[in-house]
């Protein structure tokens, strides 16, 4: 029963995190339209079970590398929604002090080595971090999140090989949402992804990425293997993004995804699925679930208020942070 309670608490924690991510993401279009968020964002809606299931298996000092669609990974690894919103708004209190925005959210103190604007670029960094943990004999693990689109990027394939050869404590998590912008992965891949990973010598497994528990179980196995010195693994999580590639796709139809396909995946919402499962199993009541939802809502309200009340970075601070040590007129100003 104690074990069962722990499992229930874990599932409720995953539910709440997924819900927080969902609400964080759902706010963005309105904030963009109001000019509060600059540019566009890549929403993580639909894929929450992957980030949350994996990060639930990690310790605070484990690290993750992320992608252009990174908010979910960052929040799942423990980032505060307020400081994340603040970064999206370009505020000084944001995780990157307003320098990075949506595609570069990072907090090294939380083990978040950063979202990334370049597809596949985070994978070698995860291998490098893992190699460092291994050299020092630290029981820490690095996770590289990336999409199906990254699987044909040279640097990612080089990283898979290195991780397998070096047997470093890394877990590669491929979020196969089946599309890279408008390109269907089936059109640019002649063999299954898991098989490709296995051929490098990685322990590779396909997982239902809409099921937070299934992701979590697979991640626990991979993380335990890595921590025990058993080497690197690869999880291919089947998932789907419910929205367009980025917020600029709203109201447009590029015609690359059939409407019934989108509708079928939307019916498999990972948050509803876990909430319903917990209720069906008698783990919590409808009222308890509603309370959890309300608490997430309050958290989001607080986060938004914090971000909105924060200041923008001073204009003359643009040149800060380029170097550990600056020299006169370095970095050069554009006008001097």
């Amino acid at each position: 029963m104690a074990d069962n309670r722990a499992a229930i608490d874990r599932d409720i924690a995953m539910y709440r995190r997924m819900r927080l991510i969902r609400r964080f993401e759902e706010w963005q279009p309105a904030l963009i339209d109001a000019g509060e968020i600059i540019g566009h964002t890549h929403q993580y809606i639909g894929q929450e079970a992957v980030a949350v299931g994996v990060c639930q298996a990690l310790n605070a000092d484990d690290v993750v590398t992320s992608t252009h669609r990174g908010h979910g990974h960052v929040l799942a690894k423990g980032a505060d929604a307020g400081r994340s919103f603040a970064e999206l708004m370009g505020k000084e209190t944001g995780y990157n002090k307003g320098r990075g925005g949506s595609m570069h959210l990072a907090d090294l103190s939380l083990g978040i080595y950063g979202a990334n604007g370049i597809v596949g670029a985070g994978a070698p960094m995860a291998v490098g971090a893992a190699a460092t943990f291994q050299r020092r004999g630290e029981p820490r693990v690095a996770v590289a999140f990336f999409g199906d689109g990254a699987i044909n990027q040279g640097v990612l394939l080089e990283s898979l090989n290195l991780a397998a050869v070096w047997r470093v404590p890394v877990v590669f998590v491929c979020e196969n949402n089946q599309y890279a912008v408008t390109t269907a992965i089936r059109d640019v891949l002649a063999a299954p992804i898991v098989g490709r990973a296995a051929s490098f010598g990685l322990a590779a497994e396909a997982v239902d990425g809409m099921d937070a528990r299934a992701v979590h179980n697979a991640a626990e196995r991979a993380v335990a293997r890595a921590r025990a010195g058993g080497g690197a693994s690869f999880l291919e999580c089947a998932t789907y993004r419910f929205e367009g590639h980025f917020t600029a796709e709203r109201g447009k139809d590029f015609g690359y995804r059939p409407a019934d396909e989108v509708a079928a995946w939307r019916r498999r919402c990972p948050i509803v699925a876990l909430g319903d499962a917990l209720q069906g199993e008698g783990a919590w009541t409808a009222a308890e679930r509603a309370t959890a939802d309300a608490e997430v809502e309050a958290e989001i309200e607080r986060a938004l208020a914090f971000a909105r009340a924060s200041a923008y970075p001073p204009a003359d601070s643009a040149h800060d942070f380029m170097y550990a040590r600056s020299y006169p007129e370095t970095p050069a100003r554009g006008w001097e």
Binding site: I38, G98, R99, H104, V155, E249, P313, H319
Partner: protein
Amino acid sequence: MAARTLTLLQAMNEAFRQEMARDPEIVYVGEDVRAPARGESAGLIDAFGPARVIDMPISEAAMAGVATGAAMAGARPIVAFQVTSLLFPAFDQLVNQAAKLPHMLGGQTHLPVTYIVLGSGARDGRAGQHSDAPHAHLLHAGIKCVMPTTPHDAKGLTIAAIREDDPVAVFVPALAAGRQGPVPEDAYALPLGRGAVRRPGRDVSVIAVGHHVHWVLAAAAELAKTGIELEVWEPLSLLPLDREGLLASVGRTGRAIIVDDGNRTCGFAGELSALLAERCFGRLKAPIKRLTRSDIPIPYSRGIEQTAVPDAGKLKAAVEQVMQWRG
């Protein structure tokens, strides 16, 4: 020749269509070419089929490399990069291979490849990895580069790039990509290596590279009201460069301000500045000024983004400085 109003990207799309219809060896390679968010390759797949309009996975190095090999085998590939910074994953193939092969092979092959580089110098929160203006990187490697800023020039320079027997990069400046203007219907090529005086003026030559030309022209109209006449000169073709046109303009005014979106150190503005110092020294009345982006990644937040790039305020300050020198 009849002309209609098109956007710059529509004009480029028309250039691709007309050239591909003319020469069956032209192939178009890129990511998301069937449904391009900005429309540059719209309709090509229907017109020319998937054997000539090739939808790539996210494999930029291979994309650049297959174009080189195809060109060695006789094709004339057009390779489209969705974002300027995607040149960097492809850099080995661009710099170590395409840029060097014709010379290293003793002239056995030409490489008629066109690189379309979209969204150069993007703004408004694209942040550090989606705002680069990396023309100087390619110039430094010896790759020919053009940078049109009107639909008319975009069509003519794209066609010229496609017809050139060397690799040519067509940079599409982000702030000019949506601009509209008259474009003749027929196919036409503009010469490489020819710049243009966009506004004649007696006091200062402002060499405006890429999308800066549009706000520089507006600033010049403002300054004219105060009695200062800027001459605005646009290079259009960065390599080959219209040295004669550049030297003639600065020779007339005796003052030069170079406005470029690339980084400052070893940037294109520095190259033009050196050229003017070497070839035009006797005509200069004032030190040459550069307005470039700062040597930092473009910051996300609006205020600090603005600090990092040239703008009208910085231009006015530079004009005041060079006008203090009375030749």
